[in-house]
């Protein structure tokens, strides 16, 4: 007999290690092309992987790399969390209530189409060159995306299950936890996945424009010096970090919430 509790807790199984290795193949290929390209191009245009690794090592040794990564990651986490919470609340409200939907929809369309740069610059001018402005501006860029996805999820809620819950008189907490949230979870996961990539792209711009630390700031310095080695030395570890978060947090979460779906051919 199967034991669902254990199954639900084990987020990744041994079989996935092989899958992860397979996923690395295109990255290894990219590295090879880079190595070959660096032999052809001048070091100023494309430094060799080894040169970049040595700068990464130096920055890591001084501690600057970790500090900047941590600062940027904290900004990503803060604005991501803010946008997810507010976006979810607004999305659910708009999905449930037609009046709220009609009131907020034009604003949502404006926000969706407003360039990230405009929001960031306005925030720095109006609020000041500080942390609140940076995080708020990034969250505001991500918010409409979360709202649109969660509104769709709320509209798609199964009415027949809602009726079942009403007839059986399920308490609100039980209903939320067992009837509503499992239906919203796939939408939440989709918002998470698109949101995370969106947020960390925009955070770097916000740092470049108005902060004096973080990966975006370091890349800005590298740009002013035309130091491609240094630019890559900051960009690559950050990409790696995001890849790790995607692989070890976002994907296991998605697997966890869809564990009840019958698996076909896997």
């Amino acid at each position: 007999m199967r034991k669902p509790t254990i199954k639900a807790l084990s987020l990744w199984r041994p079989g996935h290690t092989k899958g992860s290795l397979f996923r690395l193949t295109p990255l290894v290929l990219l590295l090879l092309i880079w190595q070959l390209g660096s032999h052809v191009a001048s070091p100023g245009m494309l430094p060799s992987p080894l040169a970049v690794v040595s700068v990464i090592a130096a920055e890591a040794w001084s501690g600057a790399l970790f500090l900047n990564l941590a600062i940027t990651l904290a900004r990503v986490a803060a604005s991501f969390a803010l946008a997810m919470v507010l976006g979810t609340v607004l999305g659910v409200a708009m999905g449930r209530d037609k009046t709220i939907d009609r009131l907020c929809d034009p604003l949502l369309i404006v926000l969706l189409n407003l360039p990230a740069l405009v929001v960031i610059v306005l925030a720095y001018i109006w609020i000041g060159l500080n942390e609140a402005a940076a995080i708020g501006a990034v969250a505001l860029n991500k918010l409409p995306n979360t709202t649109v996805i969660l509104r769709e999820g709320t509209r798609a809620l199964d009415k027949s299950l809602d009726e079942m819950a009403r007839v059986f008189g399920l308490p609100l907490g039980t209903k939320l936890r067992h009837v509503v949230l499992p239906q919203l979870a796939p939408y939440f996961a989709a918002a998470m996945r698109t949101g995370l990539s969106l947020v960390w792209k925009i955070v770097l711009i916000a740092e470049l424009l108005g902060r004096s630390n973080g990966v975006g700031f370091e890349i800005g310095i590298a740009f002013q010096l035309f130091d491609l080695t240094r630019l890559l030395a900051y960009a690559l570890p950050f990409v790696g970090l995001m890849l790790a978060i995607e692989t070890f947090l976002v994907q296991p979460f998605e697997r966890h919430i869809s564990r009840w779906r019958p698996r076909h051919g896997t």
Binding site: M1, R2, K3, P4, S160, L161, E163, M164, R166, V167, F168, G169, L170, T174, H178, V179, P182, W260, R261, P262
Partner: protein
Amino acid sequence: MELDVTIARKTLRTASGQTRTILHDVAFSLRQGEVCACIGPSGCGKTTLLRIIAGLDADFEGRVVLPIEHKTGMVFQEPRLLPWRSVAQNLRLVGVSSENDLAEIVASLRLSLHLDHFPGELSLGLARRVAIARAFAIKPDLLLLDEPFVSLDAALAARLREELLALVMKRKATTLIVTHDVEEAIAIADRIIVLAAAPGHLIADRTIEAPRGALTHARIAKLKDAILSVMANAGS
């Protein structure tokens, strides 16, 4: 628990903006523990009637009187299980009266081997049994069943009917069961109400005096003929 239903009119606005009457002049009341079968052709508003009694549809002229404190167990036409919860969780979520009762119901509906399965892994027949078990498990005062034994094999359907009657006897649950099977209605009900179609209205309300199971074959055949002729007259 007593149930008193008076529906003067239930209308529906169609997509084209017209008002269509679904039900009119349906009135009956059930004593505590009475098992009433509601039969009628498709589209006569049987399901609408159940939804009104269950409190899912308040947009009608008339009233439904129920005690303030009551537990409703309902078996919908579709199983309506939570696909992301196991069979056991689906049963427990609605508020099981006691573990012993649950074990008893699970055993009698032969679900013991399926408790850890998710609804997507069950056949429709099994899923229906889980839905029936869920309605039984809360020990309802009011039991509403919308064609619960459709698509089950004859032997299982017969056993489930007996289970249903045992539960009703033990618990004195007032029961309204929608069916289009006249024989099934005669087999389980103390009372049969017949609806005619387009728009649905009450055309017959018959109480079966003899205690359950005590009907002779001749009496059953006579009842069946009587009900079928009422339905045929309404249809012509």
